[in-house]
Amino acid sequence: MNLTFDRNLFTQIGLDSASLTMLGTIVHSFSQPGEYRGVVHEGAQVKAVFTISVDKNSANAQASVDLASLVLGPDASHPENCPCCEGSSSKDRGPRTFVVNPRGYVLFHVSQGPGGYYVHVRRTDAEEEDKGYDSRSLAEGDVFTAILLRPGAYSIINSLTGAKAELIVTYPKRGERRYRPPAPVRVVCHKKSFETDMLQIDPGQGVIFEGREYSRIQIKLEKPDDGPKTKEPASPTGPIVPHAGTWWR
């Protein structure tokens, strides 16, 4: 298990499906067999390229494309055939190739770092007028998942249709029982509305947005919830435990 205290998990509070960070993923299905060329963008900049081979003979139902790994380069935490990156191959020195069955799905995610990426994928033999797939505009059948950690009240907007919803992330409660985020909730994105427009979830719980219409999901913190008042500082710890900061690695 890879443990992390990646600052970005705690400093990037909002989510935007057009700018993927660690807490957001996009799932898209390429239903037409063929070779696709993908480009990872950060704003106007091209950060990395990859290829997707959509092959009827492939047994891969899911290809996981870690955009951070493509941008930053593979490292020890993502060796070849790592479960995090099913369907990937980088045997040669060219762009990494992901193989998936046309009835399967490609999952775009960011495993580390600040992210802020979107992808543009296009068939290698596409006509000039074929614009391909741009993750800034989620297509029908796409799924965007969001994990929200920071307690508070959020607004959800589909900036392509104007649909709105509200979301509350409750403050965690400490107890003897170990907290585990509940199962994710599902929200269907219709043309003018979200099927559920008032949501309440626990921190770390997922929200799965299922696209029925072109969508760009933007989640913004409107009112943070800082929980109960900070408790009184602990009494002096005596000589047994020196100041913790000097021991922190």
């Binding site: 900070t230 047994i240 690695r249």
Partner: protein, 305 residues
């Protein structure tokens, strides 16, 4: 019958032992041991104090109740805080085998260290049983071409040294007071919270602490503490980090080879140099040393080998 016999009473022998004991010190570390889910790093230093001496007619010396004063005893226990995981759930279920597409899991947590400063603790050498061992010492700095007189003028004479050679050194387990065990339990939660990165916002700490649940049990589970914390600390220091063996070896090596209880030059000066005359010295051979219940006895013969 020997040409020379020197005797020192038990009281005089005790005074000699006190000098030798007070010259002993040890230090080690930082050393780290890895024990699966956690690691422990220690830095120790200490000295000896107290002790009672018994001379026996069988030629053995017994030291009892010798205290080990840990002038420095710092222990740092590091473990991977399990934290909590988000994600990992299924996005598109597969009716046939569970899940077609799932979100990667992100686990929030990391290594933390709990420092314990046990400096000032006193433990005990249960017993040292030893006999006297004479050793002939030739200074490694002595030029082989030198005569005994030249060696003396250059401050590198040969010597007879008498060591207290231990046959047995038995160090008691480090007795960690129950109060430290209790304090450790009381402080773990605060320590874990304090040891989270300082930049982590309060709400994020609360999520992690909520995910940890009852922190004492979590930490105890990771560290493998099944009974009293103080017993676990004692076992960790003494046995798993091998400090008892280190101490027994250090004490045995010190008494047996590093610091003699008594030494004298060979040839032995019986008249010092004066008035332009060379000193008068006699060679010592066949040196033997032993004890009985009343005194230490050193016997030797005069003359070359």
């Amino acid at each position: 019958m020997s040409h020379i016999t020197i005797a020192a009473s038990e009281r005089a022998f005790e005074q000699i032992f006190t000098l030798v004991r007070d010259n002993f010190s040890f230090s080690k570390g930082p050393e780290t041991g890895s024990f699966g889910p956690f690691s422990a790093t220690y830095t120790v230093a200490g000295k000896l104090s107290g002790g009672t001496l018994d001379l026996h007619d069988d030629g053995t010396v017994e030291v009892k109740n010798l205290d080990i004063v840990w002038t420095q005893l710092k222990l740092k226990v590091c473990l991977d805080l399990p934290g909590c995981c988000v994600g990992g759930w299924c996005i598109i279920p597969d009716p046939w085998n569970g899940c077609l597409v799932g979100v990667p899991e992100i686990c929030i947590g990391g290594p933390i260290c709990i420092p314990l400063d046990l400096s000032g603790l006193v433990s005990e050498v249960n017993s040292i049983k030893a006999h006297l061992k004479p050793v002939y010492f030739i200074d490694p700095g002595r030029n082989p071409a030198w005569t005994d007189l030249e060696a003396e003028f250059n401050g590198k004479p040969n010597k007879w040294r008498i060591f207290l050679d231990p046959d047995l050194v038995s160090v008691d387990p480090i007795d960690v007071p129950a109060s430290i065990g209790n304090l450790f339990e009381n402080l773990v939660e605060n320590a874990v919270e304090d040891l989270l990165p300082s930049w982590l916002p309060g709400w994020a700490k609360d999520i992690i602490m909520a995910a940890l649940g009852f922190i004492i049990d979590i930490v105890k589970g990771i560290l493998g503490i099944v009974d009293k914390v103080e017993d676990w600390i004692s076992d960790l220091l003494g046995n798993r980090l091998d400090l008892l063996v280190f101490l027994e070896t250090a004490i045995a090596d010190y008494f047996a080879a590093q610091y003699p209880i008594y030494e004298f030059e060979d040839p032995y000066p019986i008249l010092p140099a004066s008035g332009g005359l060379f000193p008068v010295k006699i060679p010592i051979r066949d040196l033997k040393s032993t004890v009985n219940s009343k005194e230490m006895i050193v016997e030797a013969n005069v003359g070359g080998a």
